[in-house]
């Protein structure tokens, strides 16, 4: 009796195993591309168009932060063909050997991407071997013209006691330290302990003035006139201005962070050819335009910008700032595990105080 039960359980578990691993073979037929992108970071129509034009099926998956994406890719639970991480994370993935080089010859539309964005990308991708820019933007100050009467052109305004309890800071280590480091004229990728301690003390001094450390609530709070000054990503600035015309976005004169999210192909990708086709499709002018209109984050795609009808957006200083006008623009790079820990440690001291 007992033996028979054992045999039955064994057989059942074998069948279960076969069932789940069996699915593996069936679905992975040629003609598929597995894409891992930020949530709400693409116009769903463009995926349909791609499927219709190429016959390649898109398996589309989304992540919410670089940090939740990384362990899933590293563990290889699902094998992705195309991923869209941010600058510093691409840097980390290159250093840890998770990416493969992209042959730009096979992605002819990649020439639509402006040279200045490739140049900026060399900071985290030396030689532009791994990444094709997809979206980009700056970090700056959003302020309410009716509530702020001082000229806003410097990070200093965030330390102005006049606006106590009306200032919004980003609740993220690197962004917060970027503000403090840039204000003092240092690199935002510094590992110099003196510079970092100075930044930490500045942030501590600023803390009583800050209404809240927030992530995406900056938008709603600024639209609703709940705060007068906030640190925000340029892509959100356009949207907030549309909702509340009193808002103005400024890139501070001390320089800031230029972030770039790029398409990359992981080393273990199974459908490299389809991945190249997908990236190529996304670089096409009309498709990039559709995505720009959906996401409202700046596109590095010059062809898409040419296609824009709305002159106001086309020449918008927020969506397409002339980067050569600003000094000390930088992109985040991966600081290594020790560097990350140092920043986190200092940030914890600020937040817990």
């Amino acid at each position: 009796m007992k033996k028979r039960i054992c045999a039955i359980t064994a057989a059942a578990s074998c069948m279960l195993l076969a069932l789940f691993s069996g699915c593996a073979g069936k679905k992975e037929a040629a003609g598929e591309v597995v894409v891992y992108n930020w949530g709400e970071y693409i116009d769903p129509d463009t995926i349909d168009l791609f499927e219709k034009e190429t016959g390649i099926k898109v398996v589309y998956d989304e992540f919410e932060t670089n940090e939740t994406m990384y362990p899933k890719v590293e563990a290889g639970a699902t094998v992705y063909d195309v991923i869209c991480p941010s600058d510093y994370m691409i840097n980390k993935m290159i250093k840890n050997g998770l990416l493969q080089e992209i042959d730009r010859e096979k992605i002819p539309n990649s020439k639509n991407i402006g040279q200045q964005y490739y140049d900026n990308a060399t900071e985290f991708d030396p030689g532009n071997r791994y990444a094709i820019p997809y979206c980009w933007g700056t970090v700056g100050i959003l302020y309410n013209k009716t509530m702020v009467d001082d000229p806003v052109d410097s990070w200093d305004i965030l330390w102005n006691e006049k606006y106590a309890d009306s200032i919004l800071m980003q609740d993220s280590v690197r962004d917060a330290f970027m503000v403090a480091l840039k204000r003092n004229g240092h690199s935002m990728n510094t590992l110099d302990l003196d510079e970092l301690t100075e930044a930490k003390n500045d942030l501590l001094a600023q803390k009583p003035l800050v209404q809240a450390y927030v992530v995406d609530q900056v938008r709603d709070k600024m639209i609703g006139n709940e705060a007068s000054i906030g640190v925000i990503y340029s892509g959100e600035a356009i949207y907030t201005q549309r909702e509340n015309p009193d808002l103005e976005y400024v890139i501070p004169k001390e320089g800031t962070n230029v972030w770039i999210d790029c398409w990359v192909i992981p080393k273990n990708a199974k459908n490299v050819e389809n991945a190249e086709k997908f990236i190529d499709f996304m670089c096409r002018g009309d498709i990039a335009l559709k995505n720009f209109e959906y996401i409202t984050y700046s596109t590095p795609n010059e062809a898409a910008r040419e296609l824009l009808d709305d002159e106001e957006i086309k020449n918008s200083e927020i969506a397409f700032p002339d980067l050569s006008k600003y000094q000390d623009l930088e992109t985040y790079v991966y600081l290594g595990d020790d560097g990350d820990e140092l920043y986190n440690e200092l940030w914890k001291e600020i937040k817990s105080r």
Binding site: C23, V35, Y36, E62, T65, Y80, I223
Partner: protein
């Protein structure tokens, strides 16, 4: 007198704390403007958009499917397991119950990551199947937990009497034991169902590309801000649950009146 008014105020305060957030969400689901900061007028547009949003509807479908399958399967396994555990020696029972309780006390992220690693080493393809397996796994202990006390209070003699009267052991179980256990099984099922619908972390680690449940789908919208379609969906779910609860609470009253 003062005491009762105080009691009432206290109760109202608690209700406000519990339901104010949900009410806000329901109101916002009718807001024409996309931002919570502005009231742009009344609209049903988000509801229309919700039903046209294939990704969200797909996620809703997945969530319900997984919750239903996981709770049915884990209820079956859990009930059978509980009966088996009952028949063990006292020492065996403590050991096995200890083992089945650990997953409940374990941090979800640990369960999630270890299931992911296990599935990788088995070479499973990540998708609906792996989410379902994971959900069954973490639901079973809850079923055992709610069936066990019922089993303990069971009168063993009714079952023995059935056997004396010529019932086969299987027949005896189906006709005598299972009906007695029904309240425990039902509450175990409901618990499993809600645990499965709720779960985010374990699902996040065991899901495959392109397969989303509501919780994972909503969470990915964080970067660009949650869209009002989600408010609309939450409102519908809330109202559905409310109606179901009202119906369930009404039903036994009617029965008693007879």
């Amino acid at each position: 007198m003062i005491k009762t008014t105080l009691k009432k105020i206290y109760l109202i305060l608690i209700l406000i704390f519990l339901y104010a957030p949900i009410l806000t969400l329901i109101v916002l689901s009718f807001n024409k403007s996309k931002t919570r900061a502005k009231w742009g007028g009344f609209t049903l547009d988000w509801y229309a958009r919700l039903f046209r949003n294939e990704a969200l509807m797909g996620a809703l479908w997945n969530t319900l499917l997984i919750a239903l399958a996981a709770s049915v399967i884990s209820t079956l396994i859990g009930t059978v397991a509980a009966i088996a555990i009952m028949h063990l020696s006292r020492k065996g029972r403590t050991v096995v119950l200890g083992i089945t309780n650990i997953p409940m006390l374990n941090a979800e992220i640990v369960t999630g990551i270890s299931l992911m690693l296990l599935f990788i080493s088995f070479g499973f393809r990540f998708g609906l199947g792996t989410i379902l397996l994971a959900h069954i796994t973490f639901c079973i202990p809850y079923v055992i937990l709610s069936v066990m006390p019922r089993l303990r209070s069971l009168n063993p003699y009714t079952y023995e009497a059935a056997l004396d009267l010529g019932a086969s052991p299987l027949y005896g179980y189906v006709k005598i034991v299972i009906p007695e256990l029904m309240p425990g099984i039902a509450s175990g099922f409901l618990m499993a169902f809600t645990m499965s619908i709720d779960d985010f972390i374990i699902t996040h680690f065991t899901k495959g590309a392109g397969v989303d449940t509501l919780s994972t789908k909503i969470y990915t919208e964080v970067k660009k801000g949650i869209k009002p379609e989600v408010y609309a969906l939450s409102t519908i779910i809330f109202v559905t649950v409310l109606v179901l609860l009202l119906l369930i609470n009404k039903a036994p009253e009617k029965g008693e009146k007879k």
